[in-house]
């Protein structure tokens, strides 16, 4: 019998949806009828949060009680490490999220377990657990395995597995870890950007600019074009980091997911995983980029290989 341990992620009292994707990933690792999927939730309110985790495919929910309501890396590390020792899973699945990046490595390093991050495919090959991740800025796929390690800790890319949809009533056990201590203390949450700007998650037509814009002086031309076609001007990370557009306009993992968008015109955006996480669901994506090999062309419906400045000028001329 193999055991697969999934660690749920939660924030401000809500289980984060990526947790449901991990359950599907865990299901794929089951090979025998008696394999078990354990779902751990860690925190002060672990027991009450467990009620949000009644999902099919989970055999047991472990409410791991610590003395911090919100995520704290050392408490998470110690709690998960203790579960690995007591439950002996062959795989530990965590979301490839900011929280996991703060402690997954420590679990693997201190326990000497197999380790891979940002995994988007899982399989067995001749009994060996094989994880696939990207390499060289996602231009290649890399299959890795974990010889000599009885357990592998893996962080799983968001969106790579379909979320589980069926509810069930798994067994609930409580694991009291409130004696654990940590050397950092979560204080408060702060919403970035906001500040009276438009909420880009509600708009349907977005024109977005990226690194290809070159310099700040060029932003104005694209703002005019966006106004002219009634699109909301948004951006990828480098533009917000440079302060050329407010953070509230940033599309992507650390910005916003543009949930309501139907048409997305990406100008000079090559398409990092992080950016695409915010817009890849949009039904019509048009990407304009000088690099025919840009990743964004793999998710766009239409692609234009061209200089964005020439396209911008030409669009303005034709619209006039």
């Amino acid at each position: 019998m193999n055991t697969i341990l999934v660690v749920a992620e939660h924030r401000r009292g809500e289980v984060r949806p990526v947790t449901l994707e991990l359950i599907t990933a865990a299901q794929q690792l089951k090979t025998a009828a008696d394999d078990r999927v354990l779902l751990a939730i860690i925190g002060q309110e672990a027991e009450s949060l467990a009620s949000q985790l009644q999902w099919a495919g989970v055999d047991e929910i472990i409410a791991c009680k610590t003395n911090s309501a919100e995520f704290e890396p050392e408490l998470a590390e110690q709690a998960v490490s203790a579960l690995i020792v007591s439950r002996k899973p062959i795989a530990v699945l965590l979301p490839h999220s900011v929280d996991s990046l703060g402690y997954a490595t420590a679990v693997a390093v201190k326990g000497g377990y197999g380790y891979a991050t940002d995994v988007f495919k899982l399989a067995y090959d001749g009994g060996a657990l094989v994880a696939t991740r990207g390499g060289y800025n996602q231009k290649v796929n890399v299959e890795v395995d974990f010889p000599g390690h009885a357990c592998a800790v893996m962080t799983i890319r968001g969106g790579a597995f379909k979320p589980v949809e069926t509810v069930a009533a798994p067994l609930l056990t409580v694991d009291d870890r409130s004696e654990l201590s940590a050397r950092s203390r979560p204080l408060e949450f702060i919403e970035q950007g906001g500040g009276g700007d438009i909420d880009i998650t509600t708009v349907e037509f977005i024109m977005s600019i990226g690194r290809g814009i070159g310099e700040e002086a060029n932003v104005e031309d694209f703002r005019e074009l966006a106004d002219n076609i009634d699109a909301t001007l948004c951006c990828s990370r480098p533009i917000a980091d440079a302060g050329w557009l407010p953070k509230s306009r940033q599309v992507g993992q650390s910005g916003k997911v543009v949930s309501a968008c139907k048409l997305y015109v990406a100008m000079g955006i090559s398409g990092s995983i992080q950016h695409m996480a915010g817009m890849k669901h949009v039904s019509t994506i048009v990407a304009v980029n000088t690099d025919p090999g840009a990743s964004i062309f793999t998710i766009a419906k239409y692609g234009i290989v061209a200089d964005i400045f020439e396209i911008q000028e030409e669009l303005q001329a034709q619209l006039a």
Partner: protein, 267 residues
């Protein structure tokens, strides 16, 4: 006091590249090397702390693991104002993964005993996002990942940080020092190296350390100590957008047509 900044020389691929005959990596001929983008921000953050402190009070040390070509990236760090640069290499380190690199860097940290260690959140090439946290785990130091703001006075017992979460949210955290922090893009605005800086850097030495300097042995580094093994590398078959060909005028006209279609207007 010292701040150690862990940096990586990353590889970008040519437009057309080939996988090596053994299928385990890209053929080295197709790789172009540069300093990891995240590390520019880490170095800048250390420089800001150094410049806000009294002259000579803070020493910034850039450290990297890799063969001779890595000197070029370390030279960039010196040109931007790092006081010292250390390159660690030994043939036994070939094939080290992010975790093993973290262990090697932790060896340097033990010797230098800095008040803070900075690393980039991830590298632009392999994006394991693991090295910084592996340093912390090897040292058993407090740590925080994806730091977007840092409030730290040299020598202070704690630092205030803001972690960048998903969806435009930050979380404020107080952390005990010394600590290992992985720093996110946008935490500052990295400087360009000045001509004077570049000239001065050319004259500064890069310290070369090997296994023996770190108290590690060959079994603790390299491919055999890694927590994963590459089985196969392949170029993925990707979906492809419908490409709009033609002159700029034709491409723009088609784009206008798509916009009109979305708006429900006649083309």
């Amino acid at each position: 006091m010292k701040i150690v900044v862990a940096v990586k020389q990353v590889a970008a691929l040519d437009d057309d590249f080939e996988i090596r005959a053994d299928g385990l990596d890209v053929d080295e001929d197709f790789l172009m090397y540069d300093l990891n983008e995240w590390d520019d921000y880490s170095l800048e953050e250390a420089m800001k702390i150094k410049e806000a402190a009294a002259e000579g009070a803070v020493e910034v040390i850039a450290v990297s693991v890799g063969p001779e070509r890595v000197d070029e990236s370390l030279r960039k760090c010196l040109a931007k104002g790092a006081d010292r640069a250390i390159r660690v290499w030994d043939d036994a380190m070939e094939g080290s993964d992010a975790v093993t690199i973290g262990r090697i860097l932790a060896g340097v940290v033990k010797k230098e005993a800095p008040a803070m260690v900075f690393a980039g959140v991830q590298s632009s090439d392999q994006a394991n996002a693991a090295t910084g946290m592996a340093i912390a785990a090897s040292l058993d130091w407090p740590h925080a990942a994806v730091v977007a703001e840092l409030d730290y006075q040299p020598g202070a017992a704690t630092a205030r940080i803001k972690r960048e979460l998903e969806g435009g949210m930050l979380q404020a955290v107080e952390i005990d020092c010394p600590a290992v922090l992985t720093l996110q893009l946008g935490i500052n605005k990295p400087r360009y190296a000045s001509l004077r800086g570049i000239k001065q850097a050319a004259a500064k030495p890069i310290e070369h350390w090997s296994l023996g300097d770190l108290g590690l042995d060959a079994t603790q580094v390299g491919a055999t100590a890694a927590l994963s093994r590459v089985r196969r590398m392949e170029i993925p078959v990707k979906g492809r957008a419908q490409m709009i060909e033609g002159t700029i005028a034709e491409q723009a006209a088609k784009l206008i047509e798509i916009i009109k279609e979305y708006k429900g207007e006649a083309a």
